[in-house]
Amino acid sequence: MASLRKILIANRGEIALRLLRACRELGISPVAVYSDADRGALHVQHADEAYRLGPAPSVDSYLRGDRILEIARQCGADAIHPGYGFLSENVEFAEACTAAGITFIGPPASAMRELGSKTRARAAADRAQMPRTPGSVRGLTSAEEALTLAKEIGYPVMLKAAAGGGGKGMRAIQRPEDLPSALISASDEAARAFGSGEVYLEKLIERPRHIEIQLLADQHGNVVYLGERECSVQRRHQKVIEEAPSAVVGPELRRRMGEAACRLAREAGYVNAGTVEFLVDEAQNFYFLEVNTRLQVEHAVTELVTGLDLVHLQIAVAEGKPLPFTQEQIVLRGHAVEVRVYAEDPDSAFLPSPGRITRLLRPGGPGIREDEGVYEGWEVPTEYDPMLSKLVAYAPDRATAIARLGCALDEYVIGGIRTNLKLLRRVLDDADFQAARIDTGYLDRLLAAPAPVRPDAATDTATDSASIAAMAAVMFAAPAAAPTTTRAQTPWQHEALRRGLRR
């Protein structure tokens, strides 16, 4: 297959920018699309070409596959990269691309249909002799059916959107009386988010870890796994912190999970990058959860420990190139931890906090990677996911990676909107997290406990950080702060230093 010259990026935010940069690095011309809310977004500013999709709401813009395909055709793009979310797991869209002779950078529609739908994927897992959680292998048609099935497998149970991802359309149900209403709201939410309201039901595993295997398959039948990611730190089934490798996965378990994942991929004729999610219980049994037939938000941690670039590889595979390495050549080195920075307010029920970013001071330093999609002055739209950026730290070992990420969070300042930066810092400081004593319920338990007060280096009340804040407040309020160009030492400065040295 010929190499690609122009790729339309059917997404927004940090992933659109990350894909755009990958295209440039490969000498491919990146084309952006945008909604009215995103006219000023970085992916529009940095693209070679940019075309308007429509009004802000996703259904009028980033979910308008017809419009996107029309744009691709008319601007001469030979491929479309859907990123994650939006159209990334939409089989009809993938088929429409193929029909239009435009390469869809992702798995073939057949594999998406087989694995993209969680219900079908569970059936496929059975055929591939993979352990999975008990529950339905097709969508629920009525509350009655749900209640019967739930009774059969026993509470607590979990409702999930067949087309879902990112926790949307998911509900954990403890008691039968909550099931009917939950079914409706889950189905509604799924329909709003994915355009399909299909919901299924499965047994809820107690205190599971969420561990997933990164797959990569080419068009020539080669399938490899690039190690695992642990994504157990979640809130409402929404991943918040991810890492690679998992602290509890050794070479043997990695091999078993990896090979099972590859088996499933071969069974489904899978091509390109994909992720098989598992639940792992205390006894290290793993249960097939679902397949994400796309690039994951958290792919960065895998890139850092493998030294590979998954988007470059996705494009190479889409161009028909064989994988440039074998399973044996894939070696994990070091440790990577990623936090998702959200525009939400942990102090008031995690309300979304869209609005203008009036101050943005980014962290930096060795081992720090940020996949960002915002800038100072950018207005975070109300219409989309509240994720602002992904901050990732790489280091030779897990403890150092966590310490490094913590320091980066301390440097980070985002003003004008509320974010979860402080909460992320709290998790990194938490003894259980540091000891990797985590499961998918860990964060909710942490949040139920009062936040510990961070020790202050100050020796007396006159110089604790509240006092410093008070002084700064007055100085900010005072007419004209000291000229930034002054270099001369004032007597007071001398005095300050003399005293400082005298301590």
Binding site: L351, S467, F476, A482, A496, G500
Partner: protein, 168 residues
């Protein structure tokens, strides 16, 4: 030059301090001590303070409803004031007296209105549902009362801090 005495509310607690300016430097009078402070403003909204050798980076950010100063990683809500204006503040509706405003906690769209003018509501009862970023959030009454005013209808776009209803 005589020290300027101010009261600063930091995270809800009042701090008294006196400052004195002196050719580009400052002296802070606090807890009976006079502490020289070397101040530098690398960019608007950011102050670098050197005080008894210690270095502090203070970043000021303002949101509709409040001013925050981050000292290194530590965030503090601050309000500079003198006693008079403080008293004045206490007179604001919603703070102490019989009228309570229910404000939008985030920008978004009104999904549903759960009450009508004149309705009696109980504490924690839902009043308005706002949707943003695909999440619905119910705003509840902080205490028992009666809806004397309803300023929004379903479908309205609302800004953060906008008054949605008034409770009496």
């Amino acid at each position: 030059m005589t020290p300027l005495a101010v009261e600063v509310e930091v995270d809800g607690t009042l701090r008294r301090l006196a400052l004195e300016r002196n050719e580009g430097g400052w002296v802070v009078h606090m807890d009976g001590r006079a502490i020289p402070v070397d101040m530098y403003e690398p960019m608007p909204g950011v102050l670098s303070l050197l005080m008894e050798g210690r270095s502090y980076r203070c970043v000021r950010t303002v949101m509709a409803d409040e001013e925050t100063i981050a000292v290194g990683p530590r965030q503090h809500r601050v309000a500079v004031s003198d006693p008079r204006s403080l008293r004045a503040q206490r007179k604001r509706p919603g703070a102490g007296n019989g009228v309570l405003q229910i404000k939008a906690s985030m920008p978004g769209r009104v999904a549903r209105v759960l009450v009508a003018p004149g309705d009696a509501v109980l504490a924690h009862q839902g009043v308005v549902v706002i949707e943003a970023m695909k999440m619905q959030n119910e705003l509840k009454a902080a205490r028992d009362g009666r809806i004397v005013e309803l300023r929004v209808a379903a479908g309205d776009k609302v800004a953060s801090g906008q008054v949605l209803a008034v409770l009496e």
